[in-house]
Symmetry: C2
Subunit: 230 residues, 2 copies
Amino acid sequence: MAITLYELVGRNDLRFSPYCWRTRFALAHKELDFDTVPVRFADKRAIAFSGQERVPVLRDGDRAVADSWAIACYLDEAYPDRPPLFASRTERAMARLINEWADREVNPKLILLVVRDVYDNIDERDRAYFLETREKRFGTTLDALHAAREDRLPAARAALAPARAVLADQPFLAGDEAGYADYILMGACQWIRIVSPYAIIAPDDPVLEWRGRMLALFGGMAADAAALGP
Amino acid sequence: MAITLYELVGRNDLRFSPYCWRTRFALAHKELDFDTVPVRFADKRAIAFSGQERVPVLRDGDRAVADSWAIACYLDEAYPDRPPLFASRTERAMARLINEWADREVNPKLILLVVRDVYDNIDERDRAYFLETREKRFGTTLDALHAAREDRLPAARAALAPARAVLADQPFLAGDEAGYADYILMGACQWIRIVSPYAIIAPDDPVLEWRGRMLALFGGMAADAAALGP
């Protein structure tokens, strides 16, 4: 049965969701073929079959699985003959903690820097929805956030410090080879790269070198995606 | 050959260093017997043989290893017949990232709440050294930090959010059994518990239940240590 990934899309076919990128990498790691269905921010109907309103959603035959973490666990269970995302329960448990770290310490600092870029690059039909929900969430205007991004850049770079320290000594977060820990953080890096030319990661940061290795993986899957950043 | 752990000590034999606790748990996990040598903050001579000035230091026969992370890696290499701290290179790599997360996101927020408790509970001979280095590091007085700890409590609790999310679903950070990821964070929890009765972890926090499981491990090793907190 065919696998279909429902993923967020902006204008000009920009596929920028950090969580959908985690799933793209997971599927590539598992050596599974998949099609994608682009879903606009406000187009909840397209994924109504999943019983919830957020992408990524994976459709695998009759099964629908939402949430990038649940999808990763599903893929290992459903395809045990393919390369494992988690070779042990301990690996999976620790990857989960890393997933929570990225969701709570990294992505929230990055979104403050690129949220207006996201707004600028989503479909016009999504803008009113996005503007209302985000200005309510952040308690300020997207323009005010954009104007303050230089001030917030140090905090965003500091949020990458745990990864930076590790990558100074080893090529990937998962060690000698890329693994799900890398896909988690690469989702964030690909997100900010796709929606914005703003150089959040400093040129001399080991994280940028690692990002280059991640862009090259799986035949340049991430490098080939439409992006506004270098 | 005997293994000796050189670890930080305060007055009344309080052994509170979060990094030394990581090593205590690592040694217990490896089922290795060890003696301890208490080292005061300012007593650099006691560990001069290690070529550096910080505890924990492990002395194993002729070998001296400093730094809790280096000690963990050493123990797995030197004692491959004992239970592994890291069953794969991927487990070790991810534990390293979790180690950096704790060092950079968790411990720096906790120290602001308990630094005066540490001062109150170190040997009198260490106090001038501690006061000078810490007030310089934090750019304010220990009393000012102590007075502001209620204000900083939410940030400290928020720093535990990644662990909290994981522990809502699984008994240990490393999964079904405790592992090095748990020892990393338990080092921090044991540190604040030993030096202070201040209830940093909320009573209804899953992290507190997990701490109870960690206190009970290895025959109550952590529960049996002298502590000011419950």
